[in-house]
Amino acid sequence: MMNDYLVRLVCLCLTAFFVVHLAAGALVRWITPRGARALRRVRPRLAARTTLLMRWSPAALGLLVVAVLCVPSYLRFEPGETGEEIGPACLLGAGLALAVWAAAIVRGLRQVVRSRRYIRDGKSRRRPLVALAGILRTRLLISPVVVDALTAEQLDAALRHERAHGAARDNLKRLLLAFTPGLLPGLNGLAAVERHWARFTEWAADDDAVRGDPDRALALASALVRVARLGSAAVPLASSLLDGEDLSERVDRLLRPAAPESRRVRGDALAAGVAAGIAALACLALRPATLESAHYLLEHLVR
């Protein structure tokens, strides 16, 4: 009997996660084109943080709803012996939730394996490459052909760019992104958000490397073009100098830096806003009336 009670709870949690995750993901997918256009006008680091938050928000919201609504309302209001059966819709939702998480874990592990194999095989020595690899203990991969091709200033600018990725822990974010579930099994659905994040991250690392110095900007721009001429390779889960598809736009940004229009929006203000939203949701969720309503909804979901 206890087993039935727990199995119902697990199925409900999985289904609730899947429904919330899918709905929030659809909303994020819908706002992404407009949001990305607006974010081009703010500082790249803030734009990168915001896109990352957008990518994580469906899964985070799904987990939050499970943690603060599903589990407490079930434990409080569900009697031990009801003899209720789990309905097909609930089973389907639970199955889909398991499938999206399984797909995410497979995707993440595959990238980890590919990244480790790439570094272990020493391919970085044979192919032109400048990249920062590793998650906690980062290491710089730079192939001899790149060292020979760049001048001292260009190399310095390229290394500053990679150090900026290291300081921002971009590889850790890449790893977490790789393990973040897509909207449906086999369909990421939010790949555009990940592409925007990668672009803003590169811009932010460029800006951090240059720090407004026009000579450094020139050196980094020419390093980018020179490495592109060599045909730089990319390593999974690593921050390569030539990541992304917008070489031309990056060079233009470095040559003609434009002041961001809205400097007043600060990253910590954004984080504080998100934290306040989560706290407000948690407070609301802990009210008995909310839990009762949640349980009523879950009763319908389980049938």
């Binding site: 000579d215 020139l218 721009a221 073009v225 736009e249």
Partner: protein
Amino acid sequence: MIALFRKDEPSQPLGPLEVAVMEIVWRRGESAVRDVVDLLDRPLAYTTVMTTLDRLYKKGLLERRKCERAFLYSPRLTRAEWEQKRAGEFMAGLLSGRDPERELLISCLVDAVAHDERLLDELERKIRQRRRELKRS
């Protein structure tokens, strides 16, 4: 919900007038029909331009909102995004062929990318120009 997960519809080809109108909206941002009429190279009737903008809206290239009694049109995709989408569709079309054809195509593409240095030449020219500007100042 279904529309959100539907694969993006393939872009339809644009006629010369549609391209000219898109160029103006990309350059100018949100525009009314009258703005576009004024900026076109050749004199065209207001209704012609209005129909063209409506067609571009229906093709999904423009967004519009009502302002008083007129529509204001703005680009749904940046020029770069649109070109990327077209290029992606073109590539997907080419790569959907039979396996031997696909492999032949991929090897041709690798050659072409490896040897296409025009973009890099252009970027280097920009860098040289900027360097000269900095030295002068």
